[in-house]
Amino acid sequence: MDGQIIIAKRIARELRSGMLVNLGIGIPTLVASYVPTGVAVYFQSENGLIGTGSLPEEGMSHPLLTDAGGQPVSALPGASTFDSAMSFGLIRGGHLDLTVLGGLQVDELGHLANWMIPGKMVPGMGGAMDLVTGAKRVIVAMQHTAKGKPKIVKTCTLPLTSLRPVDLVVTEMAAISFPQGRATLLETAPGVTVGTVLEATAANLVVPSQVGEMAF
């Protein structure tokens, strides 16, 4: 299975009916394609929409119905639209059950850096800082390494997105959570050993005596 699909499918298992969920661009967007049967969640686009549906069919897009990247989306029956103050009120105000975001680095305390690489990439934080600060639960979807270098590190060297620690990191190799504020190996991907994960990780990872295998 493709690494990105492993990540998306594993995160999709965290969805529960009735949740309000915000998906970032990139791998997080893929999660919407793997919502388990029988689970109905509301997806929010921070540009002002709850009830975001799939990519519209040919001829069914509307220039005033887009996602946060400006790309056409559909709105499911029962969808609602609102302004940006309301949208971020939902995010900061504790009304958003889950956000799934991409990551550049996560450190062993669960701090996320995902919005800039000084001197190289300065796109702006967009909604990321509000999402990580305000959502009830934060999941990071990212590749385990970048060009062979670990992205799960002792201390983030890139500028932080928030001091609020994330709840779960899912990569193509492992799922890592932060009980008692320490990075802990929760599961490995099928066919990946604990040793392989540790080799690709720069953070001190707590390894419990039993590490499960990701199920989808």
Binding site: N47, L64, G70, V122, P123, M125, M129, L160, S162, L163
Partner: protein, 218 residues
């Protein structure tokens, strides 16, 4: 309710002087008053300060102002999809203030509703905190983020009536009704202008009294 006289897009853009600060509606160009922007580009109104969510993409919405090098400073949450904004920023010809999206819209909202600012947890312990006051409220830390206002708000609605009442469609709403509260002069364009009374009171999002000038269609 009294009808307001609509004005031409040429007359509307002519009100904006060199160096004006503009709040501009839209999210990645969706819900942006394109005709006003086209006219500002045609007139080549320079040294603009633009306050908006983003700078769209080259050739679209605010991206046109950036491309024509008419902007001296941008206050936005995201510029990542417009390489030209980044090029001018790196070249030092364009100042860019990046602000978390939820903080930016609340600073504008505060400016429009008579508040000095807002207290937000967003940005605590990050580079966003630099130079700002941290205030504890009941044991929780917040950043003091001050209010933002502008000389002009350039608003785009889906429907306007001839009194100036506005309603918006789908994700075209975004920053528009919030900036319509926070500028000294509010200029609105709309996809459709309808007779007074056609927009039901419950469906008016921006009341007519907030709109100073409505740009005629066609």
């Amino acid at each position: 309710m009294t009808a307001m006289k609509t004005i031409s897009v040429e007359d509307a853009a002519a009100m904006v002087p060199t160096g004006a600060s503009l709040m501009i509606g839209g999210f990645m160009g969706v819900g942006t008053p394109e005709r006003l922007i086209d006219e500002l580009v045609r007139r080549s109104t320079r040294e603009l300060i633009v306050i908006a969510n983003d700078t769209a993409v080259p050739g679209r919405g605010i991206g046109k102002l950036i491309g024509a090098e008419l902007v001296a400073k941008v206050i936005a949450s995201h510029i990542g999809l417009n390489p030209e904004t980044q090029r001018q920023m790196i070249a030092g010809t364009l100042a860019v203030d990046l602000i978390p999206q939820g903080t930016l819209i609340e600073r504008i909202r505060a400016g429009g509703v008579g508040l000095g600012g807002v207290l937000t947890p967003t940005g605590i312990g990050t580079v966003v905190e630099e130079g700002k006051r941290r205030i504890e409220v009941e044991g929780r830390p917040f950043l003091l983020e001050t209010a933002l206002r502008a000389d002009f708000a350039l608003v785009h609605a889906f429907l306007a009536d001839y009194a100036g009442n506005l309603s918006y469609a789908l994700t075209g709403r975004n920053f528009n009704p919030v900036i319509a509260m926070a500028a000294n002069t509010v200029i609105a364009t709309a996809d459709h202008i309808v007779p007074i009374g056609v927009i039901a009171p419950d469906h008016v999002v921006t009341p007519a009294t907030l709109v100073d000038f409505l740009v005629a269609n066609g």
